[in-house]
């Protein structure tokens, strides 16, 4: 539909509502569980599938070009820094893949304000934060503005 929610697994926590970039995962007022209110604006980005603590959300490929019988399931293990996929074909074949997603602990990024404050005069130079060191070359390249 593209995404759909399993009635018996969804507990209405709203994580999918909170994360959906398209604002299409909403809580049904009668059943108090989430569902996709606008499948034709679903990118199959899997943000809600990955975020669901109950693994209640799945995808059925777009009806206008995807034949039935397939399944693409995912387990994103944030703290392990990996994501695992299981792909079942319409004809029953299965493929499995696992890829890394992050090399550092979540929350470990150093905020820009934690670095020493730049010299006030730096605001007038073309250098951006952490440059030139972060460029890993001696100096920021420049180009005379002579029109060829």
């Amino acid at each position: 539909m593209p995404t759909f929610t399993d009635m018996t697994k969804c507990d209405g926590c709203g994580e999918c509502v909170d994360i959906c970039p398209s604002d299409i995962m909403h809580i049904d007022p009668v059943y108090r569980r989430a569902y996709n209110i606008e499948p034709n604006f679903c990118w199959e980005c899997y943000s809600c599938v990955k975020a669901c603590p109950q693994h209640a959300i799945d995808v059925r490929g777009y009806a206008d070009f995807a034949p039935l019988g397939h399944k693409v399931r995912v387990l994103r293990e944030k703290d392990k820094g990996s994501i695992s996929w299981k792909i079942r074909y319409r004809d029953g074949r299965v493929k499995e893949f696992c890829f890394p997603i992050r090399t550092t602990p979540w929350g470990s990024i150093k905020a820009p304000s934690e670095y020493a404050a730049p010299e006030p005069g730096g605001l007038g130079s073309p250098l951006l934060a952490h440059e030139p060191a972060a460029l890993k070359v001696a100096a920021l390249p420049t180009l005379p503005a002579s029109v060829r």
């Binding site: 397939h70 399944k71 074909y89 890394p100 992050r102 550092t104 905020a111 820009p112 029109v147």
Partner: protein, 613 residues
């Protein structure tokens, strides 16, 4: 207003306001905090920055990295590449500026925890092509959003910004922005000293090839709703190259990426009979565009052109011969991860249609057109360039400031600077962020004052579709057909159909002409009038209503620029049937427009293309 009397107006004052929390906006937040330690920096986003913007899904490659540390490329090389790919017309100063900074951005991404693949022999980043590096990018956006969230004073998620606010005394100076909270319906007014628009480009301007649920599977995200342009056009900013829409050659229906397949895995495209067709079209293409046909690598639009001609000749489907290259498990993993990191829908298509890329070829197609500024295309606002590199007439103030004072842009917003992609958009956000801080510092407290009358007028206008629906809904029993209103989806479908049929969508094989454009503009004018009758059942539909407003204004700019440029500059993106050849004598220029919201008039003109490399 009476129907929603519980609605509040929330006012937020800040120094730097960043509209849109995608890659451009995250870069802007990071850099403005680095330079403006004590400033109030606010990010406003219509979704949730952890998964918003074009990279919400993830990415499998970073498409803009020089590798200066290993002497792989210099910024000038990238300018030559982007210029060639865009058939000669780019802002070389802006592209150079991004290229010289982008490596420091990518090195930060790696330090933050983005897994970048390495070449086992050299230890360098694994190249997909000359400019691209391969990443394990499923969490690319959450990682970058973490940095942005730590930089901003506050992030306001789920606020749809509908309009920019202007200064009370100086109508060409920005003073903030207004919108509404999609969850609680409160009106939000942001008053700012500097504003950086880092909103998204446009999907769903032209009719998608899919017809049902699959219309969600556009190449660019369905939530890329043209706010990058809609906000600026309405405010009167000068826009350039709006005719330069992009068509993508991608795996059919799922729109899975082809870069890794062509460049890294060395797969190749053929017609239905297994023949490599691109070279066969070379002479005919050269007759249309002259020496631009000789550019290496072949410009994106010209590769599309060959595919389109081959389809028209009846030798489709076009196939990517994937089975010819997946000879090891490692390569199979790379091929699949390419989709699973950024376009899961393509994996769903393969699983559903029993296509194993190891065993059989997979169809390619040219997509519906999109309007954006960060890929192999460069629609967007005219912006002041870098002080040390920009020619004099490309420079009137602070780097990346638009023609509106205090209004900066990054990513899809800025025109003329193609091929920035994710890393370049973040980098452009950094450039704009630093500039905006400098602008705020230079103001010395002389803050702009938002026009109270404008705020009042807009606040009433923003919520009108809710009232229109409530009042007129009582006329009908049930359903979506009502004489008193048009739902946002109705308006969107009308827009997509007319842009497709008159302005060069897929159904005419991307062909348009002056009579077609004139007729299209006539119908578009009626659609614009009808937008006054939009009805929204709830806040979600109110968001869709304002997304539609941004799309319609953007679409009009596309149609007007397309009419103005009397040549076919980018065969494969679109064709002017009445001017089928590239014409460098007259049209080696940027097209520019300014919209006057008071009169509804558009002023079009030419701007010079300077070559500095």
């Amino acid at each position: 207003m009476a129907l929603f009397s519980s609605r509040k107006t929330v006012v937020v004052d800040c120094d730097v306001l960043v509209i849109g929390g995608g890659f451009g906006g995250c870069g802007a937040a990071y850099e403005s905090r680095y330079w403006g330690r004590d400033l109030k920096i606010v990010v406003v986003e219509k979704a949730n920055i952890e998964r918003s913007g074009a990279v919400a899904h993830g990415l499998s490659a970073i498409n803009c990295y020089m590798g200066m540390q290993w002497g792989e490329n210099q910024p000038e090389d990238h300018v030559r590449y982007a210029r060639g790919d865009l058939m000669g017309l780019v802002r070389e100063d802006l592209i150079y500026d991004i290229a010289r900074h982008v490596d420091s951005t990518v090195h930060k991404f790696e330090e933050w925890g983005l897994p970048i693949m390495k070449d086992p022999q050299t230890g360098h980043y694994l190249r997909e092509g000359r400019w691209q590096i391969m990443i394990h990018g499923e969490s690319y956006k959450p990682i970058v959003a973490e940095a942005a969230a730590k930089s901003a004073t506050a992030v306001y998620n789920r606020i749809m910004v509908t309009h920019l606010l202007m200064d009370r005394k100086r109508p060409n100076r920005v003073a903030g922005a207004i919108g509404f909270n999609v969850r609680d319906g409160h009106c939000h007014v942001f008053r700012a000293k500097a504003v950086i628009v880092a909103a998204g480009g446009a999907s769903h301007i032209f009719r998608p090839r899919a017809i049902g649920e699959g219309t969600g599977r556009t190449w660019y995200a369905p939530w890329s709703s043209a706010s990058a342009y809609g906000l600026l056009i309405e405010a009167g900013a000068k826009m350039v190259q709006m005719e330069n829409r992009i068509v993508l050659a991608r795996f059919k229906d799922g729109y899975g990426p082809v870069g890794a397949w062509f460049l890294l895995l060395k797969a190749y495209a053929t017609n239905a009979y297994g023949e490599k067709y691109e070279e066969a079209w070379f002479d005919a293409t050269k007759a249309l565009v002259g020496a631009y046909a000789d550019v290496k690598p072949m410009p994106t639009c010209l590769r599309n052109h060959a595919m389109i001609e081959e389809m028209k000749a009846g030798r489709g489907p076009i196939y990517m011969q994937t089975q010819a290259c997946l000879d090891t498990k490692e390569k199979e993993d790379i091929g699949w991860e390419d989709f699973l990191d950024m376009t899961v829908g393509q994996a769903v298509v393969w699983a559903s249609q029993n296509i194993d890329p190891k065993e059989r070829a997979s169809e390619l197609i040219t997509s519906e057109p999109y309007v954006m500024g960060s890929h192999a295309t460069c629609s967007g606002a005219w912006a002041s360039g870098p002080e040390d590199c920009a020619p004099a007439d490309y420079q009137w103030g602070y780097n990346r400031m638009t023609t509106i004072e205090g209004l900066f842009g990054a990513g899809d917003t800025i025109g003329g600077s193609a091929h920035k992609f994710s890393s370049g958009s973040f980098t452009e956000g950094r450039i704009a962020g630093k500039s905006a801080v400098r602008y705020v510092m230079d103001l010395n407290g002389a803050a702009p004052a938002a026009d109270a009358a404008q705020i009042e007028r807009l606040a009433a206008m923003i919520f009108r579709p809710l009232d229109t629906y409530r009042i007129n809904r009582n006329e009908i029993v049930a359903g979506t057909v009502a004489p008193g209103y048009l739902l946002p989806l109705h308006g969107l479908q009308r827009l997509e159909k007319l842009m497709d049929e008159y302005v060069g969508g897929y159904s005419t094989f991307y062909v348009t002409s002056e009579p077609l454009l004139e007729r299209g503009l006539e119908l578009l004018a009626m659609l614009k009038e009808d937008l006054a009758h939009l009805g929204a059942e709830d806040l979600h539909q109110l968001q869709r209503a304002w997304e539609l407003q941004h799309r319609v204004l953007t679409a009009e700019a596309v149609a007007r620029h397309t009419l103005f440029r009397r040549e076919t500059r980018w065969p494969g993106y679109y064709y002017r049937a009445d001017h089928p050849r590239l014409d460098d004598a007259e049209w080696h220029v940027f097209t520019a427009s300014e919209f006057d919201a008071k009169t509804g008039d558009w002023r079009l003109g030419k701007l010079p293309v300077h070559h500095i490399v």
